[in-house]
Symmetry: D2
Subunit: 349 residues, 4 copies
């Protein structure tokens, strides 16, 4: 049986990547693609690389157009999904690539987003350690799924195993991320112009203001950290690559853990995971290694002189960070093979 | 009076940048440029952008060729300067852009470089706080100067004022740096090929192995931190820009310092410095803002939730990180106006 | 039945891309991968993005190691295939990604390569117009195939339809190509360092010396141009993108052809081709549109003021330019479905 | 005597570069900087690299604010200068960096721009061959100057010597340019986003529609080509570098010219020019070689097989292409030393 799918925000980067993955999915048919100002135009006018979907035309993003599918993906600016979800009450599975349904804490929502706090949905990072199990279990049969923030899931996957095993201290985490501009979307903004990004590294949201911070705290609390004892210094830096996140996250070594105990925490957490890899000791990932792939690639170092564990994680923000996480979660929710249509090989160089 | 100058390593990136600055210096004449395999060729065959020096031909790097100048710049691979310094005993001023003469501690030298420990020279970062004064005083009249490591001086300038004022704790520093490949020099290495750097972020020397770590510790100890209480987690990440360092450095807030006290530490340290700028609160630098300029541009944030001060510093690794530091130090040593031939304006976009 | 395959040069860019495509091919098993200095190391030490082939170890490139497979791909530096081909006499299909077997003319070989002229093999560009048919017919059942030069096939596909239809004059072609450095391979060369490529456009082989020129002439002669009346001014320019060729090729309008006649020539040639697309009038391709895809994307303009037809072609040099052409040719030669394992969708942005 | 200067469009790329050059000019004082939506803000909020002008505040662009200076630079979107020029009747020197005053032919204006044809001003490319002399002579004492289009002046300088000497045929010129996005200005447009430019080459204005084409024709006619016999196929390609033009221009060899005669045409034209260099035979420029410099760097090849002369020219679009041309023209017009404040050395790598 083929599932019918609609994708909103199909002219943007996240929407385009969801479509790139779904185009190779044997169990789904992309029936509807929607956009705002580009409605009425061919999809390939905005996504010329998606040749196998050249038959699709962008329609207006309305509740009526989105209704009546088996699965709906919402790839909309933050705050816009609420207006559609009510009308999609009968849709078996809705997956939001935006932030609206990620946070469980009304206080966090109020502090970082503001306005009415939408209902939290199942969080779309299956590999996260949670309550001694995996978040995957919470996605089986789910009908409403929140795809993660790309930076948030990258840092959460980097540190959750150590937190869960008690070998690192979540009370003094420092994460600095080199990120590509596609994570900021396709809206025309002066600070995202090529002339402003080429040849330069640009920090933003410095000093604890980035909206992914509460999302990381939430994930690490679920992994076992004391909810009021998680502190994260988080700094993203835009660098001149279209895609990719290279997150360097460090936390103090906790409880006198040995090197073997530390490494074992990550090995145990990800040994059986198809989409999270722990590189051999002394090896670290590049974003090029995961471009186009649904992979979080981690390298782990233990710096005794600094008394810190360092995890370097490479993620393609549009794949494992967004669209791949969404499709992987869909596969789980619907009882399909989890790895369907999700590439593990990247495109390099 | 015009000073005669020789520059070794003139076919490389550091040597080329020293020449770019000296070409505009009214008090010096570049009389000799030397290289290894390229000796005998015109300088512009290797530095086609240095048109005003088109009359110079590369000579072999030998003690005899370098001797007899008022000032000699050594821009050689680490470990090579020793073979020249003995022969330059009569040279009034020698400035080494390599690492050989930076470290005062034989233990640090043994741990990070190995081999015989060369004599430490005056450290070429005039603005560093040291013993309640500035490193500048140690450069006046100096005859042997060690230009700094570009990453080391960037991090040291970022944190020294807070350490000296006691408002941050040097015992748990975390620095993550986005750096361009020109800092690695012009030698042909597979991992520095354009195909390996374009479109990707590449971590290296993860886990406390980078040779600039002891240099940072040394500078912060000079600024007033307890020498055995300095701990630094240091991770550089290669990103696709030819030049530039964007260093994000964080340290715990110390001693209950107020926001005003914290900011005042940096303001006081750099208020009168021509080449270090502290940006207005809420503003952070990009590497594009300092490209080609002899400037360290700092932005400061205080994250009370994370209990950390964050300093983001942008430096052109070839200018303020290397060649500009060398020329600035030369100006001071020789009693010239410190700002001579050192641009404060960058080239952007 | 699964075919056993060996790939030499597996640590390089062309070899890596052949492996990326074959990893998704249902009819083949990559049994052997070989390299020179890296023999004995895991494949993923050199191609960390090829996770699904993590079980493979690089072996030495010797005739013995390559023998005994159903298909052997040679991705070696030019001039090296000859030493292996004799030993592979019993191998049913050998595909050379190098230049050795592309040229039919001994004079061209002598002028552009020199040394003994190797036997020409079937040319691996199925879509080329030749003698009123397609080159595809010459690949069916072929046992020895020469994959094309990436620049050569890009320009040949751009112009062959117009030449075959007599609507452009092959006597005064001008082609200028923006190309990424991966086409030059993974050897460590100073001029291919990231610092030399980032932020700059670099011409090379200016003035008629590029080795792909005779290959283009040969293809256009096969398409119907008078062999002694083909003249091409060909200039490649390295630009800062890892992959991609954006070829702008122009030729004079011939024989008073109308706009409709001109456009019809290309439409007819490529209407049924799965891997060559002609974009709608007024639309032109970007290399981003074909990244990772086995596609040559063409845009056509007619400039009456200049009396020239302009064809802009985008090709991923490693896919349709090399590895995709090789696998597509293999599919044809072996009687498999031509499109097997060859993506038409790109990875963008 | 210090001249007072006003620069409009000071928040943009062209305005910023004019300011970067003027900041080092000993004979001028930048007294007024103007912008539209950013009026009231510090200049360095938009041009953080221009530290030496940190005392300036952006004012509104109005005729009143611009009046009363010795020199006014207009760096405004095309079509906007007319509203200011009437009010600047008493200003001794006005230099327009926009297109309004470049074209002498009303027909060309109507065909490529439309609307009322503004008065043509003295064309700001001093080195162009014109009527057996140089355009420089027409700039001495000029009171109204049109700075050139960056692509147009690059191509015109590439070919004018050969046209003037009769050794190339202007009737079949082909120019393809790799250009950086800063030439398109700082306006927020989706197609200029970093995600759309990074890692890709993007052609635009294909097929004879670019507005610089009539400007090139005009310059070559002035150099001696028959006005109705100039034909140019012109294709610009956006590539991922913030600045720079790498123009490959070819034209048929004319009149049986010998290699020596051809090369002599360019040598004679530029032998005494401080800002146009002809590289040695076999050598070609990169845009990196001219970054930040007021230089047009040319390499010349003669391809007898193609019967064409190829000129590869590298120009920094913001310097020699715009701001440098403007300041150089100002120097000439005012009788200052032509080379004042104009760097010949670039910033590389």
């Amino acid at each position: 049986m083929t599932l019918s799918v609609a994708v909103s925000g199909a002219s943007g980067y996240a929407g385009g990547e969801i479509l790139r993955l779904l185009a190779a999915h044997p169990d789904v048919e992309v029936r509807t693609v929607t956009a705002h100002s580009s409605a009425g135009q061919p999809l390939v006018a905005h996504q010329p690389h998606l040749r196998s979907l050249a038959h699709l035309e962008l329609r207006a993003t309305t509740p009526e157009v989105l209704a009546g599918h088996d699965v709906v993906f919402l790839a909309l600016p933050h705050g816009q999904s609420a207006q559609y979800t009510a009308a999609l009450a009968d849709t078996p599975l809705v997956i939001d690539a935006g932030a609206d349904h990620r946070l469980t804490s009304p206080d966090d929502w109020a502090a970082f987003y503001g306005g009415e706090h939408p209902e939290p949905w199942a969080y779309g990072v299956p590999e996260l350690t949670i309550d001694g199990g995996k978040q995957r279990e919470h996605l089986r049969g789910a009908t409403r799924i929140a795809a993660p923030g790309c930076n948030a899931s990258t840092v959460a996957l980097s540190l959750a195993p150590g937190v869960a095993a008690g070998v690192i201290d979540a009370g003094d985490i420092v994460s600095v991320l080199a990120v590509g501009p596609s994570g900021a979307g396709k809206a025309a903004k002066t600070n995202l112009l090529a002339s402003e990004i080429l040849g330069t590294a640009n920090p933003y949201a410095v000093g604890g203001t980035h909206r992914h911070i509460p999302e990381i705290r939430q994930a690490l609390a679920a992994a076992g950290a004391p909810a009021d004892g998680i502190r994260i210094s988080f700094t993203p830096v835009l660098v001149p690559m279209a895609r990719g996140i290279l997150a360097t996250s460090t936390a103090p070594i906790a409880g006198g853990a040995s090197d073997a105990e530390i490494r074992a925490a990550w090995e145990a957490a990800y040994a059986d995971e198809p989409f999270v890899e722990l590189l051999p000791s002394g090896t670290f990932p590049r974003t090029a290694d995961v471009l186009g792939a649904n992979i979080a690639s981690l390298g782990l170092a233990i710096d005794r002189a600094a008394n810190r564990v360092i995890v370097v994680a490479a993620v393609d923000n549009l794949v494992k960070g967004t669209a791949g996480a969404a499709v992987q979660s869909m596969n789980i929710a619907l009882g399909l093979a989890e790895t369907t249509a999700l590439p593990v090989n990247g495109v390099a160089p």
